[in-house]
């Protein structure tokens, strides 16, 4: 049964995980996402659904536990925040290379280095361009509300299993810490082991009645390795064709469009309201999937709007992908705050006027 609750984004993740039949969570404390594991420990899902919850000795260990669980065909996840996600990159590369499904949550904080515990969106490049070594892509979902935090756990697993690819939920300290109304999904039972074996014939479940399964990313023959690389590339192209998601907020009559994701997209929506009071037709395009990126939608808009303002809590990362999509047809400007500062709607509108309307 669905339930309406008031809770933090981080807590919504945990409730949704248990409700969508997640088999295992492996984590390590780091602000501002520690509530994810705390909530799971309080919920004690091992007594109800049988879900495993384990605090690992490091982020490195946690992601490798996820690697193993995913290899066993289980619905497994981990969560962390920026510095911890950096530590997980090696494991994420292995998971992507071995084509395993899992969900990873990054509740971004400001960097570089230890940075700050305040929100940021400066891990965009790390999330959509690879992050770890080698050519690979994650499916990246960017929630902008507590509701989407809850919804994207189930969606993340669905996409991860559909494409046998890790799915990253790229959130930030605002969404993780903010309390909002959320409709929690109805309880779905965990898959039985028989169902896991049937759904994941490739998994390391024990070789009963079949030849042995090997989960590896290692290949010494360059001819075969190249085929594996090409296969991955083809998969990413398919994902780009099928899975683009975005929110179009009043772009239909817009002269200018803010391109923004996650919490800063909320600010941009307020900026659009302010702009419209002043007679400026501002729309907001909010990419929900950062990979695959809504390139086509931006190209469509580029044909009819006067310019784009990309708003991010970073020095300007997604703006590069917006510029690639617009391809010089229209001006693409950037406005951002860093260091844990969240932009205000007034600042965004001001930047729009100064940088684009002039």
């Amino acid at each position: 049964m669905e339930e309406i609750k008031l809770m933090k984004g981080n807590e919504a993740i945990s409730h949704a995980a248990v409700r969508c039949g997640c088999d295992g969570y492996f984590g390590y404390p780091i602000t501002p996402q520690s509530e994810v594991m705390e909530t799971l420990q309080e919920l004690k899902p091992w007594e109800t659904t049988g879900m495993v919850v384990l605090q690992a000795e490091s982020e490195v260990s946690a992601i490798n536990m996820v690697y193993a669980g995913a290899g066993a065909g289980k619905m497994v996840m981990t969560s962390s925040s920026s510095p911890g996600i950096s530590l997980k990159q090696e494991g994420i590369s292995y998971i992507a290379a071995a084509e395993l499904p899992c969900v990873i949550l990054n509740v971004m904080r400001g960097g570089p280095g230890l940075g700050t515990i305040q929100p940021s969106q400066a891990d965009y490049f790390q999330s959509v361009k690879g992050g770890g070594h080698g050519d690979y892509r994650l499916i990246v979902l960017a929630p902008s509300s507590v509701q989407e935090m809850a919804d994207f756990v189930g969606l993340g697993f669905e996409l991860a299993f559909k494409y046998r690819n890790p799915c990253l939920i790229l959130s930030d300290g605002v969404i993780g810490q903010m309390m909002e109304k959320v409709v929690l999904p109805p309880f779905k039972p965990r898959r039985t082991q028989e169902e896991v074996v049937a759904q994941c014939p490739w998994a390391t479940t024990g070789k009963k009645g079949r030849a042995r399964n090997i989960i590896t990313s290692l290949e010494m023959a360059p001819e075969i390795m190249e085929q594996r690389n090409l296969h991955l590339l083809e998969k990413y192209r398919t994902i780009e064709e099928n899975e683009v998601r975005f929110e179009d907020y009043h772009c239909e009559d817009a002269d200018y469009v803010c391109v923004s994701f996650g919490s800063s997209a909320r600010v941009c929506k307020s900026a659009a309201e302010l702009a419209r009071h002043e007679g400026i037709n501002l729309g907001v395009l909010r990419p929900i999937t950062l990979f695959p990126f809504p390139t086509k939608k931006i190209q469509e808009l580029a044909a009819r709007v006067k310019g784009f303002l990309t708003v991010e809590m970073s020095a300007g990362q997604m703006v590069e992908d917006v510029r690639l999509a617009v391809n010089g047809q229209k001006p693409v400007e950037f406005f951002g705050r860093q260091g844990g500062m969240v932009p205000t709607a007034e600042e965004v509108l001001d930047a729009l006027k100064k940088q684009l309307i002039k």
Partner: protein, 263 residues
């Protein structure tokens, strides 16, 4: 009676276990890994647990172990095998899960994963092959390299003032409350091979009985890295390695199980 008369199936007293695949191992001639692989395969077959055993092979010469022992395998990043094994066992407790790690993997880059898996008392088996050197990358110094021993990255011998001391990590693991069985074996002679096989079996039985983490160290040689013949390497190992890494059980007990505090 001629040799031809003796060679009949009913007279076979020793042969390759079926659980070892027909793939020719990539290891150098005489490498200790081969015998250890063979023993693990024999034990798994004898216990009849091949359909529920999952091995974890991290980076090192034995990263290709999955080509040789016919069970499910996951290849792991360098040092991370105990983390993988932890999740595999917890998510599928009916499975038998083991790692197969070298000394660089277990005692250097994977120290944290190893110690914490052991400290949690994961019901897994850790096979630890200690040849005092990084074999796969060409014979560099390992944490277990003996004092004064020459390697590619300490060509004048390991200077303990600079690089510290040979790490007796099994002794350290034996101190942890989560381990139930820590033993040091070798496979250079028939008698040792028989003992090592018993240790492997005991370790698997412990994990199935939920007694805690079992660690079986094999003091081994890397004759290529040591720049010796296999026979010379075995002799050198007996003379030098066993002094620092003495054979025998370091611990044989059962981990303490949690009891809820009285309310």
């Amino acid at each position: 009676m001629t040799t031809k008369d003796i060679i009949k199936p009913e007279n076979l007293v020793y042969g390759k276990t079926k659980l070892l695949t027909d793939n020719v191992m990539h290891y150098c001639p005489g490498c200790s890994h081969g015998v250890i692989h063979k023993l693990i395969a024999e034990v798994i077959e004898e216990m009849g647990i091949q359909d529920r055993t999952v091995g974890v092979a991290p980076v090192g010469c034995a990263v290709f172990a999955y080509n040789y022992i016919d069970v499910d395998w996951q290849e792991a990043a360098h040092g991370r095998a105990p983390a993988l094994a932890t999740a595999l066992k917890r998510l599928n407790p009916e499975n038998v899960v083991f790692t197969y790690q070298g000394d660089g993997d277990l005692a250097a880059i994977g120290t944290a994963e190893t110690i914490h898996a052991c400290n949690r008392g994961e019901n897994i088996v850790i096979f630890f092959v200690n040849n005092a050197i990084y074999g796969m990358t060409g014979g560099q110094m390992a944490p277990t390299t003996l004092e004064g021993m020459k390697t590619a990255t300490c060509p004048y011998g390991r200077n303990t003032d600079i690089y510290g001391f040979p790490l007796k990590i099994s002794e350290l693991l034996a101190k942890l409350d989560g381990t139930c069985y820590v033993t040091r074996q070798s496979t250079h002679k028939t008698a040792n091979i028989v003992r090592a096989k018993k240790a492997i079996r005991k370790a698997f039985e412990n994990s199935m009985a939920g007694k805690g983490t079992s660690v079986v160290e094999f003091v081994s040689h890397c004759n290529t890295g040591w720049k010796m013949s296999p026979v010379q390497a075995n002799a050198w190992m007996e003379e030098h390695m066993f002094a620092k890494y003495p054979l025998g059980d370091l611990k044989d007990t059962e981990k303490k199980h949690y009891e809820e505090p009285a309310k």
